[in-house]
């Protein structure tokens, strides 16, 4: 029998990485369960009648009752929730009243449209917002800082509805530089086989550059608009993070050592704000992924924001719940992704 001491530390029942992953997955599950429960209950106590949404204004009392029972509304709330939860776990969000299709199929159709728009919007926001914020911080009080402030102020305060319509009027209506509302011109609709549901990606995969160009001409304006709004937020946050770093002693030391200004700003100060910046960008991205309802309405963009809103106004609760779960999941996943990035960028977080 071997001496226990010679075996070193007793082996844990599970490896540490497995435990950590288990905790992460567990916390996601609990969050999602809470979200589902709250949304479900709000949906049930809201003073709208899902039965009327199905049977219409003119149905007789018997038809109303049939549908009431078919929807299971005569059962206790907790039983209804348990049944719904069971279905959701199996990937069944139920049928949408409004579209006569499974909610999962609807979401698979509308979410890629939002994903495409939000991703491009975020890319634009980061590509312009981060440099603008850095320069504004470095040249604090200069004319460029003032311009950055005005740009951000306009971005914060201008109603997106107005800005979107003005953008359409000028760049589509008058100048004709961009495509009009919708994801693609009607002549090109359904021309590329859907793989991801994102037309830019699908047309590139298909090698159909005519459709790609057309889709790009349609997405560029709404994406720029969303990009502008995230730019406003990202540039202000970048500026404030950078100011904090630039006043730190290590920056002065670096300068005294004779390092170039470029290396001081980008090599030292900026490196240290990356972690904070990830949180800001992730939050902004998540906000856009919820679907910007007004942008979607103005640009006739069939995304998840207008899907959930239309469903909510029509008491299509399966669609509302399904959409909310997806948006919640996106938030949680972005949280996990930014946590992972922290570890990658900040050795202290490992």
């Amino acid at each position: 029998m071997a001496d226990r001491k010679t075996e070193g530390r007793p082996r844990a029942l599970f490896p540490r990485w497995l435990l950590r992953s288990g905790v992460t997955v567990g916390s996601i599950a609990v969050t999602m369960l809470g979200l589902l429960f709250v949304t479900f209950m709000i949906g049930r106590v809201m003073p709208v009648d899902p039965v009327l949404a199905i049977v219409g204004d003119r149905a007789s009392a018997e038809v109303y009752q049939q549908v009431y029972e078919r929807l299971g509304l005569d059962r206790p709330l907790i039983v209804q929730f348990a049944i719904y939860l069971g279905d959701v776990v199996r990937g069944d969000f139920g049928m949408s009243i409004l579209t006569a299709r499974p909610v999962a199929e609807d979401i698979a159709r509308v979410f890629p449209a939002t994903l495409e728009l939000a991703t491009l919007g975020t890319v634009i926001g980061v590509a312009f917002g981060v440099p603008l914020g850095v320069v504004a911080a470095v040249r604090r009080g200069s004319w460029i800082d003032q311009i950055a402030r005005v740009v951000a102020l306009v971005g914060y305060s201008m109603p997106i509805f107005w800005l979107g319509l003005m953008g359409l009027l000028i760049f589509y209506g008058i100048l004709g530089w961009v495509g009009g509302p919708g994801r693609v011109s009607i002549f090109y609709a359904d021309m590329v086989p859907p793989v991801t549901g994102m037309i830019l990606v699908d047309s590139a995969l298909d090698g159909n550059w005519t459709v790609f160009r057309d889709a790009l001409s349609h997405i560029v304006l709404p994406a720029a608009l969303l990009g502008y709004y995230s730019l406003a937020y990202i540039s202000r946050m970048t500026r404030s993070f950078m100011l904090e770093q630039l006043s730190a002693e290590y920056v002065t030391t670096a300068r005294v050592k004779g390092m170039s200004e470029w290396a001081v700003i980008w090599g030292h100060a900026f490196r240290n704000i990356r972690v904070q910046l990830i949180t800001v960008v992730a939050l902004s991205y998540a906000g856009l992924l919820e679907g910007s309802v007004l942008t979607e309405i103005i640009f006739s963009w069939p995304g998840i924001g207008s899907y959930i809103t239309t469903a909510l106004l029509s008491a299509d609760m399966n669609a509302v719940l399904g959409g909310t779960v997806v948006v919640g999941l996106v938030f949680v996943l972005l949280n996990v992704a930014s946590d992972l990035l922290y570890k990658f960028l900040d050795p202290r977080a490992k």
């Binding site: 409004l98 006569a100 009027l169 009607i186 609709a189 005519t210 160009r213 790009l216 207008s306 106004l313």
Partner: protein
């Protein structure tokens, strides 16, 4: 060069190529009709289920019916469509239809009397929203196989009573009368649903078009049926795009990316009016705007009070200001262009007369709650009523809610006053007469929630029998006169103040001809359109 650099330079190149080579925007092709409208109300394209406006517009173009209206001559009434002719039995209860020869469904299957029988039976058996249009003839899931049958290649439809033939045939022109391809539909049956799930998103008809796709909240695309029995439509493809915003529809029209914009608000209509290449078409639609007084409120049940309220409305003021171009004054329950409709609008704003009537009834200091849906024009009307009612000494508290909220309370007979709209269900006067002026049982237990008179706790004061008599009157002119008489009495005695009839203004390219939204009676038709 690493993979990342390659990707980035590729993306930059792609972007620059795209931005310098944006496609040009031409007008829509000559054989294609592009319409911008709101289609977010479509919940199904199965004619046995669909009961929404946008869905009706699509279905009308996909399916033939036994009898149908000519889109360019609606005044002519029902005409032969898939039925070439019909005969009525001596007892007036059975109509025998002879089918048109040589018409095929989009699948290539011939249209037969069996398909027609199947379609009508299916609509009754499925018992979905619009099924009452057929079941009101005494058809039930149990008896429909006997009441609708095929003999010697002809379709026989038997009703429980000898209804006016015009009533039965008018009802068959509604979308629920669409004839579907039995073989195709049943081949797609799931769990005994008679093809309902499949037909919600597909078409199986013999109409002018077939459904290419319906993308909810995005678009509906139709392709022409070259073998359509009235001749191949000039518009080979019709695309109906969901565009929520009026301003966006206007931009699309002005850029030539669409041919017709159907939901421009009055400001945008004014904006495009008189522009080169754009014309405005106005059509009276079937929607009526009304308010009604719950007869459970004792004061409102007095005849003088009911009448007083009709003098407290600024009909002309509203129609000429914020409702201009959208509504015209109509104080009768039949929309203009219906059989038996009348133009008499005797009420106008007369506060002194209203006050005198209230005093005569001994009513003063009345405070009422009005329920309104959160729709701009209705809220504005409610505010106007609040103002004019106040002048007559009636305090009106406005409760605004979603459609489901307000309708729920209206159907439960809980609101003092309801302000809303009503649209006819099928192109026969019975559709409105049977809800405004008919109430077979006014008790709470009767739960006739679909009947407007019941919702207002009004027993219809003898009009029920007159409506029942009109619906079985076979002489069309006598029948029309009966509805005129019913409306004259209704105007004076009912707790309904009908105020306006809806107008639809469509803005379109000047080269678009023969487009109709179907006026008050029908849905939109695309097959006669030319450009």
């Amino acid at each position: 060069m690493n993979a990342f650099s390659k990707l980035m330079s590729g993306a930059a190149l792609g972007l620059s190529v795209a931005l310098t080579a944006m496609p040009g925007w031409a007008e829509t092709p000559a054989n294609m009709l592009v319409i911008a409208t709101r289609i977010d109300d479509i919940t199904s394209l199965d004619p046995a289920q669909s009961f929404e406006f946008s869905g009706g517009d699509v279905i009308r173009n996909l399916y033939g019916k036994l009898v149908n209206f000519d889109p360019l001559n609606l005044e002519a009434g029902f005409q032969p469509d898939l039925a070439e002719s019909w005969e009525v039995s001596e007892d007036g209860r059975t109509i025998t239809f002879t089918m048109r020869e040589g018409v095929n469904f989009e699948s290539g299957n011939p249209v037969t009397a069996e398909d027609a029988a199947f379609s009508l039976r299916r609509a009754v058996k499925l018992n979905l929203n619009p099924s009452f249009i057929l079941t009101q003839f005494g058809l039930t899931a149990d008896n429909v196989d006997e009441m609708i049958r095929v003999e010697d290649g002809k379709l026989k439809l038997t009703t429980d009573k000898a209804y006016a033939t015009s009533f039965v045939l008018n009802c068959l022109t509604a979308n629920i009368g669409s004839i579907v391809d039995m073989q195709t539909v049943m081949a797609n049956e799931q769990n005994g649903d008679m093809g309902n799930a499949w037909l919600s998103t597909h078409s199986a008809g013999s109409g002018a078009y077939r459904l290419v796709s319906w993308k909810p909240n995005e678009s509906v695309t139709l392709a022409a049926n070259p073998d359509f029995h009235e001749g191949a439509p000039a518009m080979e493809r019709v695309v109906v795009r969901h565009v929520q915003e009026s301003a966006t529809q206007r931009l699309l029209l002005e850029r030539g990316d669409i041919d017709i914009a159907r939901n421009l608000n009055p400001e945008d209509i004014a904006g495009v009016s008189g522009r080169d290449g754009v014309k405005i078409q106005e059509e009276l639609k079937g929607y009526l705007m009304y308010f009604s007084l719950n007869q459970k409120v004792p004061e409102l049940a007095k005849p003088e009070v009911r009448q007083a309220f009709k003098y407290m409305v600024d009909y002309e003021g509203m129609a000429n200001s914020f409702l201009k171009g959208q509504y015209t004054v109509q104080q009768n329950f039949l929309p203009r262009s219906y059989l038996g409709s009348v133009d008499e609008n005797p009420f106008s704003l007369d506060i002194e007369k209203a006050k005198a009537l209230l005093a005569e009834a001994g009513v003063e200091g009345l405070e009422l709650e009005i329920g309104v849906r959160e729709v701009q024009d209705r809220m504005e009307i409610a505010q106007s009523l609040q103002n004019t009612f106040a002048q007559a000494g009636v305090k009106l508290n406005i409760t605004v809610g979603t459609g489901a909220q307000i309708l729920g309370r209206y159907r439960a007979r809980e609101l003092d006053v309801y302000l809303g709209t009503w649209g006819p269900d099928y192109p026969d006067p019975q559709t409105n007469a049977s809800t405004f002026a008919w109430n077979a049982d006014n008790s709470d237990e009767a739960q006739l929630t679909g009947v407007l008179a019941w919702r207002n706790s009004w027993d219809a004061a003898g009009l029920t029998e007159k409506v029942d008599a009109a619906v079985v009157e076979n002489d069309t002119e006598t029948r029309a006169q009966m509805y005129r008489d019913i409306q004259a009495e209704f105007r004076e005695t009912s707790p309904f103040a009908i105020m306006f009839q809806n107008i639809e203004q469509s803005a379109m390219s000047e080269n678009v001809a023969n487009f109709t939204t179907g006026q008050a009676i029908m849905d939109a038709a695309y097959w006669e359109v030319t450009k």
